[in-house]
Symmetry: C2
Subunit: 276 residues, 2 copies
DNA sequence: CGTAAGATTGATGCATATCAATCCCAGTGG
DNA sequence: CCACTGGGATTGATATGCATCAATCTTACG
Protein backbone atom coordinates (compact mmCIF):
# COMPACT_ATOMS: atom_id res chain seq x y z
CA UNK A 1 0.00 0.00 0.00
CA UNK A 2 2.74 2.37 0.86
CA UNK A 3 4.46 1.81 -2.38
CA UNK A 4 1.42 1.48 -4.54
CA UNK A 5 -0.06 4.77 -3.50
CA UNK A 6 2.75 6.69 -5.05
CA UNK A 7 3.36 5.72 -8.64
CA UNK A 8 6.60 7.62 -8.89
CA UNK A 9 8.34 5.47 -6.38
CA UNK A 10 8.85 2.11 -8.01
CA UNK A 11 12.36 2.45 -6.83
CA UNK A 12 14.30 0.85 -9.60
CA UNK A 13 12.97 3.02 -12.35
CA UNK A 14 13.02 6.31 -10.53
CA UNK A 15 16.48 5.80 -9.20
CA UNK A 16 17.74 4.85 -12.59
CA UNK A 17 16.21 7.96 -14.01
CA UNK A 18 17.79 10.04 -11.27
CA UNK A 19 21.24 8.77 -11.80
CA UNK A 20 21.04 9.74 -15.40
CA UNK A 21 20.08 13.29 -14.52
CA UNK A 22 23.05 13.80 -12.30
CA UNK A 23 25.26 13.84 -15.30
CA UNK A 24 28.44 13.05 -13.46
CA UNK A 25 30.00 9.66 -13.53
CA UNK A 26 27.96 7.93 -10.88
CA UNK A 27 29.49 4.56 -10.59
CA UNK A 28 26.71 2.06 -10.54
CA UNK A 29 27.78 -0.46 -7.98
CA UNK A 30 25.84 -3.49 -9.09
CA UNK A 31 25.67 -4.23 -5.44
CA UNK A 32 23.31 -3.55 -2.67
CA UNK A 33 19.85 -2.43 -1.93
CA UNK A 34 18.71 -1.63 1.56
CA UNK A 35 15.35 -1.94 3.18
CA UNK A 36 13.66 0.81 5.13
CA UNK A 37 14.66 -1.03 8.29
CA UNK A 38 18.29 -0.89 7.37
CA UNK A 39 18.08 2.80 6.66
CA UNK A 40 16.31 3.55 9.93
CA UNK A 41 18.82 1.51 11.88
CA UNK A 42 21.62 3.38 10.18
CA UNK A 43 20.07 6.72 11.09
CA UNK A 44 19.64 5.69 14.69
CA UNK A 45 15.88 5.60 14.45
CA UNK A 46 14.25 3.07 16.72
CA UNK A 47 10.71 3.31 15.39
CA UNK A 48 9.45 0.32 13.55
CA UNK A 49 8.16 0.74 10.06
CA UNK A 50 5.78 -1.71 8.48
CA UNK A 51 6.47 -2.97 5.04
CA UNK A 52 9.77 -4.22 3.81
CA UNK A 53 9.13 -4.25 0.14
CA UNK A 54 10.60 -0.86 -0.42
CA UNK A 55 14.27 -0.99 -1.27
CA UNK A 56 16.75 1.83 -1.56
CA UNK A 57 19.62 1.76 -3.92
CA UNK A 58 23.26 1.99 -2.90
CA UNK A 59 25.83 3.89 -4.83
CA UNK A 60 29.57 4.27 -4.66
CA UNK A 61 31.64 7.42 -4.88
CA UNK A 62 35.37 7.70 -5.06
CA UNK A 63 37.43 10.32 -3.28
CA UNK A 64 36.91 13.71 -4.84
CA UNK A 65 33.55 12.91 -6.39
CA UNK A 66 30.53 15.00 -5.51
CA UNK A 67 27.20 13.60 -4.40
CA UNK A 68 25.59 16.88 -5.36
CA UNK A 69 26.67 20.41 -6.14
CA UNK A 70 25.39 23.83 -5.17
CA UNK A 71 22.44 24.95 -7.20
CA UNK A 72 21.66 21.51 -8.52
CA UNK A 73 17.94 20.67 -8.43
CA UNK A 74 17.09 18.82 -5.26
CA UNK A 75 15.45 15.45 -5.45
CA UNK A 76 17.47 13.12 -3.30
CA UNK A 77 18.70 12.59 0.21
CA UNK A 78 21.68 10.39 0.99
CA UNK A 79 22.47 8.20 3.95
CA UNK A 80 26.12 7.33 4.39
CA UNK A 81 26.79 3.63 4.71
CA UNK A 82 30.58 3.78 4.67
CA UNK A 83 33.34 6.24 3.97
CA UNK A 84 34.00 9.87 4.84
CA UNK A 85 32.81 13.09 3.25
CA UNK A 86 32.69 16.82 3.68
CA UNK A 87 29.77 19.16 3.15
CA UNK A 88 30.71 22.67 2.16
CA UNK A 89 29.12 25.98 1.40
CA UNK A 90 30.68 28.64 -0.81
CA UNK A 91 30.34 32.10 0.65
CA UNK A 92 29.81 35.28 -1.36
CA UNK A 93 33.52 35.82 -1.91
CA UNK A 94 34.05 32.32 -3.20
CA UNK A 95 35.65 30.86 -0.12
CA UNK A 96 34.87 27.37 0.99
CA UNK A 97 33.24 26.84 4.36
CA UNK A 98 33.13 23.30 5.69
CA UNK A 99 29.84 22.64 7.46
CA UNK A 100 30.10 18.98 8.35
CA UNK A 101 32.08 15.80 7.91
CA UNK A 102 29.37 13.23 7.24
CA UNK A 103 30.15 9.62 7.96
CA UNK A 104 28.33 6.38 8.53
CA UNK A 105 24.75 6.97 9.60
CA UNK A 106 24.59 10.63 8.63
CA UNK A 107 21.88 12.11 6.46
CA UNK A 108 22.93 14.39 3.63
CA UNK A 109 20.97 16.86 1.57
CA UNK A 110 18.38 18.27 3.96
CA UNK A 111 19.37 21.79 3.02
CA UNK A 112 17.97 21.22 -0.44
CA UNK A 113 14.37 20.86 0.65
CA UNK A 114 13.81 24.55 0.96
CA UNK A 115 14.15 26.16 -2.42
CA UNK A 116 14.24 22.89 -4.34
CA UNK A 117 17.97 23.23 -4.92
CA UNK A 118 20.94 22.11 -2.89
CA UNK A 119 22.57 24.93 -0.99
CA UNK A 120 25.71 23.00 -0.22
CA UNK A 121 27.91 20.54 -1.96
CA UNK A 122 29.07 17.23 -0.56
CA UNK A 123 32.36 15.69 -1.61
CA UNK A 124 33.69 12.23 -0.86
CA UNK A 125 36.97 12.35 1.05
CA UNK A 126 37.44 8.61 0.66
CA UNK A 127 35.64 5.96 -1.29
CA UNK A 128 32.09 6.00 0.01
CA UNK A 129 28.97 3.98 -0.20
CA UNK A 130 25.73 5.89 0.24
CA UNK A 131 22.08 4.95 0.12
CA UNK A 132 19.88 7.01 -2.13
CA UNK A 133 16.59 8.23 -0.72
CA UNK A 134 14.43 10.00 -3.29
CA UNK A 135 12.73 12.77 -1.37
CA UNK A 136 9.38 12.12 -3.00
CA UNK A 137 9.53 8.56 -1.76
CA UNK A 138 10.38 9.66 1.72
CA UNK A 139 7.61 12.21 1.98
CA UNK A 140 4.90 9.94 0.65
CA UNK A 141 6.21 7.25 2.91
CA UNK A 142 6.02 9.60 5.85
CA UNK A 143 2.52 10.64 4.99
CA UNK A 144 1.25 7.12 5.22
CA UNK A 145 3.49 6.22 8.07
CA UNK A 146 3.40 8.50 11.11
CA UNK A 147 6.44 6.89 12.72
CA UNK A 148 8.58 7.53 9.70
CA UNK A 149 7.38 11.08 9.47
CA UNK A 150 8.10 11.69 13.13
CA UNK A 151 11.51 10.13 12.81
CA UNK A 152 12.34 12.33 9.89
CA UNK A 153 11.25 15.43 11.79
CA UNK A 154 13.47 14.21 14.56
CA UNK A 155 16.47 13.85 12.32
CA UNK A 156 16.03 17.35 10.95
CA UNK A 157 15.61 18.74 14.43
CA UNK A 158 18.72 16.89 15.57
CA UNK A 159 20.67 18.42 12.73
CA UNK A 160 19.41 21.85 13.73
CA UNK A 161 20.58 21.30 17.27
CA UNK A 162 23.96 20.15 16.07
CA UNK A 163 24.38 23.34 14.10
CA UNK A 164 23.34 25.42 17.09
CA UNK A 165 26.10 23.73 18.99
CA UNK A 166 28.57 24.66 16.28
CA UNK A 167 27.47 28.29 16.36
CA UNK A 168 27.92 28.35 20.09
CA UNK A 169 31.33 26.68 19.90
CA UNK A 170 32.71 28.85 17.14
CA UNK A 171 31.38 32.00 18.75
CA UNK A 172 32.46 31.38 22.29
CA UNK A 173 35.28 28.86 22.59
CA UNK A 174 39.02 29.30 22.27
CA UNK A 175 40.94 27.57 19.50
CA UNK A 176 42.15 24.93 21.90
CA UNK A 177 38.69 24.18 23.17
CA UNK A 178 37.35 23.90 19.64
CA UNK A 179 40.06 21.50 18.53
CA UNK A 180 39.66 19.46 21.71
CA UNK A 181 35.95 19.24 21.14
CA UNK A 182 36.52 18.25 17.54
CA UNK A 183 38.79 15.41 18.59
CA UNK A 184 36.35 14.24 21.23
CA UNK A 185 33.55 14.33 18.70
CA UNK A 186 35.57 12.32 16.20
CA UNK A 187 36.37 9.82 18.90
CA UNK A 188 32.69 9.45 19.77
CA UNK A 189 31.73 8.96 16.18
CA UNK A 190 34.38 6.38 15.53
CA UNK A 191 33.31 4.54 18.66
CA UNK A 192 29.70 4.65 17.55
CA UNK A 193 30.73 3.04 14.28
CA UNK A 194 32.46 0.25 16.12
CA UNK A 195 35.98 1.46 15.47
CA UNK A 196 38.51 2.44 18.08
CA UNK A 197 37.70 5.69 19.78
CA UNK A 198 41.27 6.20 20.89
CA UNK A 199 43.17 5.46 17.73
CA UNK A 200 42.00 6.67 14.35
CA UNK A 201 43.00 8.42 11.17
CA UNK A 202 41.63 11.76 10.18
CA UNK A 203 40.44 11.80 6.62
CA UNK A 204 40.45 15.55 6.13
CA UNK A 205 43.22 18.11 5.79
CA UNK A 206 44.19 20.67 8.42
CA UNK A 207 42.71 23.28 6.16
CA UNK A 208 39.35 21.53 6.15
CA UNK A 209 39.41 21.10 9.90
CA UNK A 210 40.29 24.76 10.23
CA UNK A 211 37.45 25.84 8.01
CA UNK A 212 35.05 23.65 9.95
CA UNK A 213 36.19 25.14 13.27
CA UNK A 214 36.61 28.72 12.14
CA UNK A 215 40.41 28.61 12.46
CA UNK A 216 43.40 28.65 10.16
CA UNK A 217 45.22 25.47 9.25
CA UNK A 218 48.30 26.68 11.12
CA UNK A 219 46.35 27.15 14.32
CA UNK A 220 44.91 23.66 14.00
CA UNK A 221 48.34 22.21 13.44
CA UNK A 222 49.89 24.13 16.33
CA UNK A 223 47.08 23.19 18.68
CA UNK A 224 47.41 19.52 17.84
CA UNK A 225 51.14 19.77 18.45
CA UNK A 226 50.50 21.49 21.77
CA UNK A 227 48.09 18.71 22.80
CA UNK A 228 50.75 16.23 21.84
CA UNK A 229 53.39 18.03 23.88
CA UNK A 230 51.01 18.15 26.82
CA UNK A 231 50.47 14.41 26.60
CA UNK A 232 46.79 14.62 25.73
CA UNK A 233 47.19 12.95 22.37
CA UNK A 234 49.72 11.53 19.99
CA UNK A 235 49.54 13.03 16.56
CA UNK A 236 51.53 12.17 13.49
CA UNK A 237 50.15 13.59 10.28
CA UNK A 238 46.61 12.24 9.98
CA UNK A 239 47.00 9.61 12.63
CA UNK A 240 45.59 10.46 16.06
CA UNK A 241 45.78 8.65 19.34
CA UNK A 242 43.83 9.94 22.28
CA UNK A 243 45.82 9.57 25.48
CA UNK A 244 43.81 11.65 27.94
CA UNK A 245 40.19 11.79 26.94
CA UNK A 246 39.00 13.27 30.21
CA UNK A 247 41.23 16.30 29.89
CA UNK A 248 40.24 16.74 26.27
CA UNK A 249 36.61 16.78 27.22
CA UNK A 250 36.96 19.15 30.13
CA UNK A 251 39.27 21.53 28.33
CA UNK A 252 37.59 24.90 28.44
CA UNK A 253 40.34 27.49 28.42
CA UNK A 254 40.46 31.13 28.97
CA UNK A 255 37.42 32.69 27.34
CA UNK A 256 35.01 31.17 29.83
CA UNK A 257 33.97 34.74 30.44
CA UNK A 258 32.44 35.90 27.22
CA UNK A 259 28.95 36.15 28.58
CA UNK A 260 29.14 35.45 32.21
CA UNK A 261 25.58 34.92 33.20
CA UNK A 262 26.33 32.17 35.64
CA UNK A 263 29.10 31.14 37.98
CA UNK A 264 32.52 31.10 36.30
CA UNK A 265 32.89 27.63 37.67
CA UNK A 266 36.53 26.75 38.21
CA UNK A 267 38.31 25.10 35.34
CA UNK A 268 39.43 21.61 36.17
CA UNK A 269 40.79 20.52 32.82
CA UNK A 270 44.36 20.66 31.68
CA UNK A 271 45.13 24.17 30.64
CA UNK A 272 48.21 23.78 28.56
CA UNK A 273 49.69 27.04 29.68
CA UNK A 274 53.12 25.62 30.25
CA UNK A 275 52.99 23.48 27.18
CA UNK A 276 53.26 26.30 24.70
CA UNK B 1 -10.92 17.29 17.51
CA UNK B 2 -7.58 18.71 16.75
CA UNK B 3 -7.82 21.43 19.30
CA UNK B 4 -9.50 19.43 21.94
CA UNK B 5 -6.84 16.81 21.86
CA UNK B 6 -4.37 19.05 23.62
CA UNK B 7 -5.48 19.81 27.14
CA UNK B 8 -2.41 21.68 28.28
CA UNK B 9 -3.34 24.89 26.59
CA UNK B 10 -6.25 26.05 28.68
CA UNK B 11 -5.50 29.27 27.10
CA UNK B 12 -8.44 31.42 27.76
CA UNK B 13 -7.47 31.83 31.32
CA UNK B 14 -3.81 32.43 30.79
CA UNK B 15 -4.35 34.83 27.96
CA UNK B 16 -6.87 36.76 29.91
CA UNK B 17 -4.45 36.96 32.72
CA UNK B 18 -1.72 38.26 30.47
CA UNK B 19 -3.72 40.85 28.64
CA UNK B 20 -5.38 42.08 31.75
CA UNK B 21 -2.28 44.01 32.60
CA UNK B 22 -2.66 46.40 29.70
CA UNK B 23 -3.94 49.61 31.14
CA UNK B 24 -4.36 51.32 27.81
CA UNK B 25 -7.77 52.51 26.72
CA UNK B 26 -7.00 50.96 23.40
CA UNK B 27 -8.93 47.76 22.75
CA UNK B 28 -6.43 45.83 20.85
CA UNK B 29 -6.18 42.41 22.30
CA UNK B 30 -8.84 41.75 19.74
CA UNK B 31 -7.79 38.71 17.76
CA UNK B 32 -7.26 35.73 19.95
CA UNK B 33 -7.43 32.97 17.36
CA UNK B 34 -5.98 32.54 13.91
CA UNK B 35 -6.85 30.23 11.05
CA UNK B 36 -4.39 27.98 9.29
CA UNK B 37 -4.38 30.44 6.42
CA UNK B 38 -3.29 33.24 8.70
CA UNK B 39 -0.50 31.13 10.11
CA UNK B 40 0.73 30.08 6.68
CA UNK B 41 0.66 33.64 5.44
CA UNK B 42 2.62 34.71 8.47
CA UNK B 43 5.25 32.04 7.83
CA UNK B 44 5.57 33.04 4.21
CA UNK B 45 4.02 29.85 2.93
CA UNK B 46 2.13 30.19 -0.29
CA UNK B 47 0.52 26.77 -0.39
CA UNK B 48 -3.18 26.59 0.08
CA UNK B 49 -4.61 24.47 2.79
CA UNK B 50 -8.09 23.13 2.73
CA UNK B 51 -10.20 23.48 5.78
CA UNK B 52 -10.63 26.65 7.73
CA UNK B 53 -12.24 25.26 10.80
CA UNK B 54 -9.00 24.82 12.59
CA UNK B 55 -8.11 27.76 14.76
CA UNK B 56 -4.91 28.44 16.64
CA UNK B 57 -4.83 30.31 19.86
CA UNK B 58 -2.94 33.51 20.47
CA UNK B 59 -1.10 34.30 23.63
CA UNK B 60 0.61 37.36 25.00
CA UNK B 61 3.95 37.57 26.74
CA UNK B 62 5.47 40.55 28.42
CA UNK B 63 9.13 41.52 28.26
CA UNK B 64 11.21 39.08 30.24
CA UNK B 65 8.72 36.24 30.14
CA UNK B 66 9.72 32.91 28.65
CA UNK B 67 7.74 31.04 26.04
CA UNK B 68 9.59 27.87 27.02
CA UNK B 69 12.68 26.93 28.96
CA UNK B 70 15.50 24.47 28.41
CA UNK B 71 14.60 20.93 29.33
CA UNK B 72 10.89 21.58 29.39
CA UNK B 73 8.86 18.85 27.67
CA UNK B 74 8.21 19.77 24.07
CA UNK B 75 4.67 19.94 22.82
CA UNK B 76 4.24 23.26 21.15
CA UNK B 77 5.59 25.43 18.36
CA UNK B 78 5.10 29.17 18.32
CA UNK B 79 4.66 31.62 15.47
CA UNK B 80 5.41 35.22 16.31
CA UNK B 81 2.62 37.62 15.43
CA UNK B 82 4.10 40.73 16.98
CA UNK B 83 6.92 41.75 19.25
CA UNK B 84 10.58 40.81 19.57
CA UNK B 85 12.26 37.89 21.29
CA UNK B 86 15.56 36.13 21.73
CA UNK B 87 16.28 32.42 21.60
CA UNK B 88 19.23 31.31 23.67
CA UNK B 89 21.18 28.23 24.52
CA UNK B 90 23.13 27.75 27.72
CA UNK B 91 26.52 26.18 27.14
CA UNK B 92 28.24 23.76 29.49
CA UNK B 93 29.84 26.51 31.52
CA UNK B 94 26.56 28.29 32.04
CA UNK B 95 27.09 31.08 29.57
CA UNK B 96 24.28 32.35 27.47
CA UNK B 97 24.54 32.04 23.70
CA UNK B 98 21.99 33.94 21.63
CA UNK B 99 20.92 31.90 18.61
CA UNK B 100 18.24 34.05 17.06
CA UNK B 101 16.10 37.12 17.46
CA UNK B 102 12.68 35.88 16.41
CA UNK B 103 10.15 38.43 15.23
CA UNK B 104 6.96 38.55 13.24
CA UNK B 105 6.57 35.50 11.04
CA UNK B 106 9.25 33.41 12.70
CA UNK B 107 8.70 29.89 13.93
CA UNK B 108 9.96 29.00 17.39
CA UNK B 109 10.54 25.67 19.04
CA UNK B 110 11.71 23.40 16.24
CA UNK B 111 14.70 22.34 18.30
CA UNK B 112 12.38 20.58 20.72
CA UNK B 113 11.19 17.97 18.26
CA UNK B 114 14.24 15.82 18.63
CA UNK B 115 14.44 14.51 22.15
CA UNK B 116 10.96 15.68 23.10
CA UNK B 117 12.39 18.52 25.17
CA UNK B 118 13.29 22.07 24.23
CA UNK B 119 17.01 22.58 23.86
CA UNK B 120 16.80 26.35 23.93
CA UNK B 121 14.83 28.94 25.76
CA UNK B 122 12.99 31.83 24.19
CA UNK B 123 12.47 35.09 26.04
CA UNK B 124 10.30 38.03 25.09
CA UNK B 125 12.31 41.23 24.68
CA UNK B 126 9.16 43.29 24.35
CA UNK B 127 5.51 42.53 24.75
CA UNK B 128 4.76 39.83 22.24
CA UNK B 129 1.83 38.08 20.73
CA UNK B 130 2.47 34.56 19.53
CA UNK B 131 0.28 31.88 17.99
CA UNK B 132 0.39 28.49 19.62
CA UNK B 133 0.77 25.49 17.35
CA UNK B 134 0.51 22.18 19.21
CA UNK B 135 2.96 19.89 17.49
CA UNK B 136 0.57 16.99 17.47
CA UNK B 137 -1.93 19.11 15.63
CA UNK B 138 0.64 20.14 13.10
CA UNK B 139 1.86 16.66 12.38
CA UNK B 140 -1.58 15.15 12.00
CA UNK B 141 -2.49 18.10 9.86
CA UNK B 142 0.54 17.49 7.69
CA UNK B 143 -0.30 13.87 7.33
CA UNK B 144 -3.69 14.67 5.87
CA UNK B 145 -2.41 17.62 3.97
CA UNK B 146 0.64 17.11 1.76
CA UNK B 147 1.04 20.83 1.11
CA UNK B 148 1.23 21.59 4.79
CA UNK B 149 3.72 18.84 5.37
CA UNK B 150 5.90 20.01 2.51
CA UNK B 151 5.71 23.56 3.77
CA UNK B 152 6.79 22.50 7.21
CA UNK B 153 9.73 20.57 5.82
CA UNK B 154 10.56 23.70 3.91
CA UNK B 155 10.49 25.87 7.00
CA UNK B 156 12.78 23.50 8.88
CA UNK B 157 15.14 23.33 5.93
CA UNK B 158 15.14 27.11 5.69
CA UNK B 159 16.05 27.37 9.33
CA UNK B 160 18.90 24.92 8.79
CA UNK B 161 20.22 27.03 5.93
CA UNK B 162 19.98 30.15 8.06
CA UNK B 163 22.10 28.51 10.74
CA UNK B 164 24.63 27.38 8.18
CA UNK B 165 24.92 30.98 7.14
CA UNK B 166 25.55 32.00 10.75
CA UNK B 167 28.28 29.38 11.12
CA UNK B 168 29.94 30.62 7.98
CA UNK B 169 29.66 34.26 9.05
CA UNK B 170 30.95 33.76 12.57
CA UNK B 171 33.75 31.53 11.38
CA UNK B 172 34.98 33.62 8.49
CA UNK B 173 33.96 37.27 8.70
CA UNK B 174 35.55 40.17 10.54
CA UNK B 175 33.74 41.92 13.34
CA UNK B 176 32.84 44.78 11.04
CA UNK B 177 31.43 42.50 8.40
CA UNK B 178 29.37 40.64 10.99
CA UNK B 179 27.88 43.81 12.45
CA UNK B 180 27.21 45.19 8.97
CA UNK B 181 25.46 42.01 7.99
CA UNK B 182 23.46 42.08 11.19
CA UNK B 183 22.25 45.61 10.47
CA UNK B 184 21.37 44.73 6.89
CA UNK B 185 19.49 41.70 8.10
CA UNK B 186 17.55 43.74 10.64
CA UNK B 187 16.75 46.26 7.95
CA UNK B 188 15.44 43.53 5.66
CA UNK B 189 13.31 42.06 8.37
CA UNK B 190 11.82 45.38 9.38
CA UNK B 191 11.06 46.10 5.74
CA UNK B 192 9.41 42.72 5.35
CA UNK B 193 7.18 43.55 8.30
CA UNK B 194 6.12 46.78 6.66
CA UNK B 195 8.19 49.04 8.88
CA UNK B 196 10.94 51.35 7.77
CA UNK B 197 14.05 49.54 6.70
CA UNK B 198 16.20 52.59 7.23
CA UNK B 199 15.05 53.79 10.61
CA UNK B 200 14.38 51.41 13.45
CA UNK B 201 15.01 50.65 17.07
CA UNK B 202 16.98 47.66 18.22
CA UNK B 203 15.22 45.79 20.95
CA UNK B 204 18.22 43.89 22.28
CA UNK B 205 21.26 44.95 24.26
CA UNK B 206 24.79 45.22 22.88
CA UNK B 207 25.64 42.19 24.94
CA UNK B 208 22.91 40.16 23.24
CA UNK B 209 24.01 41.32 19.79
CA UNK B 210 27.56 40.41 20.70
CA UNK B 211 26.60 36.96 21.84
CA UNK B 212 24.62 36.44 18.65
CA UNK B 213 27.58 37.50 16.49
CA UNK B 214 30.33 35.91 18.52
CA UNK B 215 31.73 39.26 19.67
CA UNK B 216 31.98 41.21 22.91
CA UNK B 217 29.58 44.03 23.65
CA UNK B 218 32.44 46.53 23.48
CA UNK B 219 33.36 45.44 19.97
CA UNK B 220 29.75 45.77 18.87
CA UNK B 221 29.53 49.23 20.36
CA UNK B 222 32.81 50.34 18.85
CA UNK B 223 31.90 49.00 15.43
CA UNK B 224 28.58 50.80 15.44
CA UNK B 225 30.37 53.99 16.42
CA UNK B 226 32.87 53.45 13.60
CA UNK B 227 30.03 52.95 11.11
CA UNK B 228 28.50 56.15 12.41
CA UNK B 229 31.77 58.05 12.03
CA UNK B 230 32.13 56.68 8.51
CA UNK B 231 28.67 57.92 7.62
CA UNK B 232 27.20 54.51 7.02
CA UNK B 233 24.63 54.80 9.78
CA UNK B 234 23.44 57.03 12.56
CA UNK B 235 23.33 55.35 15.91
CA UNK B 236 22.14 56.69 19.20
CA UNK B 237 21.59 54.11 21.87
CA UNK B 238 19.09 51.64 20.45
CA UNK B 239 18.01 53.84 17.60
CA UNK B 240 19.53 53.08 14.20
CA UNK B 241 19.31 54.89 10.92
CA UNK B 242 20.84 53.35 7.84
CA UNK B 243 22.47 56.00 5.66
CA UNK B 244 24.44 53.91 3.19
CA UNK B 245 22.88 50.53 2.72
CA UNK B 246 24.95 49.63 -0.31
CA UNK B 247 28.21 50.00 1.55
CA UNK B 248 26.84 48.07 4.50
CA UNK B 249 25.90 45.20 2.24
CA UNK B 250 29.16 45.08 0.33
CA UNK B 251 31.35 45.46 3.41
CA UNK B 252 33.65 42.45 3.44
CA UNK B 253 36.86 43.51 5.16
CA UNK B 254 40.19 42.03 5.66
CA UNK B 255 39.84 38.31 6.32
CA UNK B 256 38.75 37.58 2.77
CA UNK B 257 41.61 35.14 2.68
CA UNK B 258 40.78 32.54 5.27
CA UNK B 259 40.22 29.75 2.80
CA UNK B 260 41.12 31.03 -0.57
CA UNK B 261 39.77 28.41 -2.88
CA UNK B 262 38.64 30.83 -5.51
CA UNK B 263 39.65 34.20 -6.82
CA UNK B 264 40.23 36.76 -4.07
CA UNK B 265 37.93 39.05 -6.01
CA UNK B 266 38.70 42.67 -5.27
CA UNK B 267 36.81 44.22 -2.39
CA UNK B 268 34.57 47.01 -3.54
CA UNK B 269 32.91 47.94 -0.29
CA UNK B 270 33.81 50.69 2.07
CA UNK B 271 36.72 49.58 4.15
CA UNK B 272 36.62 51.96 7.07
CA UNK B 273 40.35 52.03 7.44
CA UNK B 274 40.51 55.77 7.82
CA UNK B 275 37.47 55.91 10.01
CA UNK B 276 39.07 54.38 13.05
C1' DC C 1 63.44 10.19 -8.30
C1' DG C 2 61.15 14.34 -8.58
C1' DT C 3 57.31 16.98 -7.79
C1' DA C 4 53.38 18.73 -5.47
C1' DA C 5 50.31 18.84 -1.78
C1' DG C 6 50.01 18.73 2.90
C1' DA C 7 52.01 19.45 7.60
C1' DT C 8 54.97 21.62 10.86
C1' DT C 9 57.22 25.38 13.01
C1' DG C 10 58.94 30.14 13.63
C1' DA C 11 58.57 35.29 13.59
C1' DT C 12 55.62 39.04 13.56
C1' DG C 13 51.45 41.99 13.54
C1' DC C 14 46.83 42.98 14.05
C1' DA C 15 42.02 42.42 15.41
C1' DT C 16 39.57 41.82 19.07
C1' DA C 17 39.21 40.70 24.11
C1' DT C 18 39.85 42.52 28.53
C1' DC C 19 39.95 45.91 32.15
C1' DA C 20 38.31 50.16 33.56
C1' DA C 21 36.29 54.74 33.71
C1' DT C 22 32.63 57.63 32.50
C1' DC C 23 28.16 58.72 30.41
C1' DC C 24 23.32 58.26 29.47
C1' DC C 25 18.75 57.22 30.49
C1' DA C 26 14.58 54.99 32.60
C1' DG C 27 12.55 54.07 36.74
C1' DT C 28 11.59 54.95 41.48
C1' DG C 29 11.00 56.89 45.87
C1' DG C 30 11.47 60.98 48.82
C1' DC D 1 9.52 67.53 40.77
C1' DC D 2 13.99 66.03 41.30
C1' DA D 3 17.82 63.47 43.20
C1' DC D 4 18.97 58.68 43.36
C1' DT D 5 20.01 54.35 41.42
C1' DG D 6 21.25 50.75 38.37
C1' DG D 7 21.51 48.76 33.93
C1' DG D 8 23.13 49.71 29.60
C1' DA D 9 26.25 52.21 26.32
C1' DT D 10 30.37 54.50 25.13
C1' DT D 11 35.18 55.19 25.02
C1' DG D 12 40.08 54.62 26.28
C1' DA D 13 44.28 51.88 27.45
C1' DT D 14 46.34 47.65 27.28
C1' DA D 15 46.98 42.67 26.63
C1' DT D 16 46.83 38.60 23.89
C1' DG D 17 45.12 34.98 20.85
C1' DC D 18 45.14 33.94 16.57
C1' DA D 19 46.09 35.22 11.66
C1' DT D 20 49.50 36.10 8.54
C1' DC D 21 53.81 35.51 6.16
C1' DA D 22 57.38 32.47 5.33
C1' DA D 23 60.56 28.65 5.51
C1' DT D 24 61.31 23.81 5.85
C1' DC D 25 59.87 19.00 6.28
C1' DT D 26 57.13 14.89 5.17
C1' DT D 27 54.47 11.99 2.43
C1' DA D 28 52.09 10.32 -1.62
C1' DC D 29 52.48 9.30 -6.26
C1' DG D 30 53.39 9.41 -11.39
Amino acid sequence: MLIAENPTISAASSVTAQSGAAGSSWQRQAKLWSSLQDVCALLGIHERAGSDELQFQHMQFKAGQRLHTIGQPFDMLFVVNSGFLKSVMIDESGNEQVLAFPMKGDLIGIDGIHGKHYNTETVALTTCEVILIPFKVLSSLGRANPEVEAAFFGVMSRELIREQGMISAIGALSAEARVARFLASMSDRFSAMGYSGTQFNLRMTRQEIGSYLGLTLETVSRTLSAFHAAGLITVEQRSIEIRDMKSLRTLRRLPPSRNKQAVPKAVDGVVLEAAA
